[in-house]
Amino acid sequence: MSEYTERLLTGPSRKDKSERLRVIWLIIIPLIAILFQVYVPRFVGFLSYLELPLLITVHFALGRRGPISSVFYGMSIGLVQDSLSHQPIGMFGIVKTLVGYFAASVSQRFDVENPIVTFILSFFFYFFHQFFYWVLARALLGEAMIFDAQQTLLFGLLNAAVALPLFHILDKLKVAA
């Protein structure tokens, strides 16, 4: 195992672990992300591929590194998303709960400060989010949803590309705890 690989796996996830987002931002940022998802695509259609609530969940989970808090945070965002959709409440909640949990678990083993790791994790969790939602929709609701893997991979790349500057901006909002 090389030194770089070892540092990726065992190094500190954040430069300053004591930096955290304020509580108000923990509320406002998901709200903005959800508003962006429900409002902006009205005028700019191609931005509907952006899953900002998912990216916010991933960012929170990677930053907090706490699975339980990330589970509840992801669940909350997912339930709000469900509330603004026509689906039964809990679909996005379950998916984002899992994403928060796994993201928090991964952040304990990888140096998520690395942009490449952030890009790969964002891409992976987007694909996981979409795929698991499709599975739940088919399994629990019996909906004949179509899962376009190619399109999902492409959108995953785009979301991962957006995640890099977004995480950088969100890190600026952190203050010392």
């Binding site: 589970v71 469900d82 509330s83 409440i89 809990g90 679909m91 909640g93 709960t97 609701l141």
Partner: protein, 458 residues
Amino acid sequence: MDFFLSRYRNLTVLLIVIVAQLLLIAYQVKSNKDVALIRVWAVTAVTPVEQGLELVRRYTWGFVEDYFVLLGVRSQNEKLQHENGQLKIENHYLKSELATADRAQALSVFQAHSPSKTVAARVIGNGTGANSKVVFIDRGSTSGIESGMAVVTPDGIVGKVVDAYPMASLVMLVTDPTFAAGVISQKNRVRGTLKGLGQTKCLVDYAQNEEKVDEGEWFYTSGDDRIFPRGFPVGQVTSVRNGKTFKEIYLVPSGMQGGVEEVLIMLQGVHLQIPDNETATPGYKILQAPTEAAGQIPQPTGQQSVLTTDADRLREQYKQSGEAQHKGFGEGFVAPDFTKIQGIRAATPAASNVPTPSGTQPTPSPSRDRQEAQSKPGSTAPATPGATPAKATASPPVTVTAPAIPPTPKPRPTAPILVTDPTDADPDAVPPPVPKTDKPVKPPGGGTPPSRPPSANQ
């Protein structure tokens, strides 16, 4: 249990949360009910912000968007105006082309039916000069154009060629102040001289005040000027008033209405008949004259068709009667027995229903003569402009344009036409005795028979 929860606390929480949400979904699907509370909270939390965003967007981005939209509208307006202008030009061009095609078609039809030898030409420019009304045409001496030729259109005369160049000619329009042409009115046959005034109207000069010219009456070329053949329409009278010496008759040239674009130059003109009581472009349908059977009008037959007066008919009757009695009419001293003329016997009141011979027919009016002459085959002049001058002069006037008037039978004479009227006799001569027998009576004094029929004065 505590060990399990403490060791797998995260996983336990995850499972609890997942199971709770699964139960929530199962409840919703099973009961087909919604968790209204969560939705209300979420919607209540999101929608006010959304409304605020929409309000802000409307007054910020919407304003900016409207600004850019207005910028687009301005450019679009300019583009549409440009396109509208192009379409107007194209429409005007197409209309002009259509009008040109119509005029060219009318011109070609007129040229094909006109007996005159003509050459079509197009006006290519106006002449200089403030008061002069001259135009250039695209035909010159190479096309046979010579100075002094008449320029016409199917609607009437336009002018005359004043200069012929190799490839172009200068045409003086009828509105030019120096233009003059002989004209004649259609209805009253008033002659005059058409003069241009430099305006749209022209003056017909040298028509006496005593002559009658009505407003709306048409003038035609009289052919006196040896430029315009006779019978071409000139224009319609718009105003008439008496002047000091001559009438002041103003008319609008019919050949220049709507502008002059295509014209015909008459290389060799042919005189035409002036239509009788008809305008150049009648706006009504003229019915055919009734047939002979319908009117029950006996027509003169044979060589009598050339006779036009009762005196000629009576003279012919006398001549035939004299020849039947072997006495030359107008020769010798013994007059034939006029009582043996068949027409005289037939013209009794008792025999009034018998068809009257043509020789004793009541004198028809001149117009009726024309109708009768027209109804006879071979005696009708061509109504089209293709009539040659010789035919025109030899044939009766064209009356196809006159409205057909059903001939009303005039009352037949109750007495023979050939009645010796004492007042009609020569006062110096002794009245001839009434013959009682067939024996010829020698006139007293041995005079010659009258050189003219007694009925010549009737």
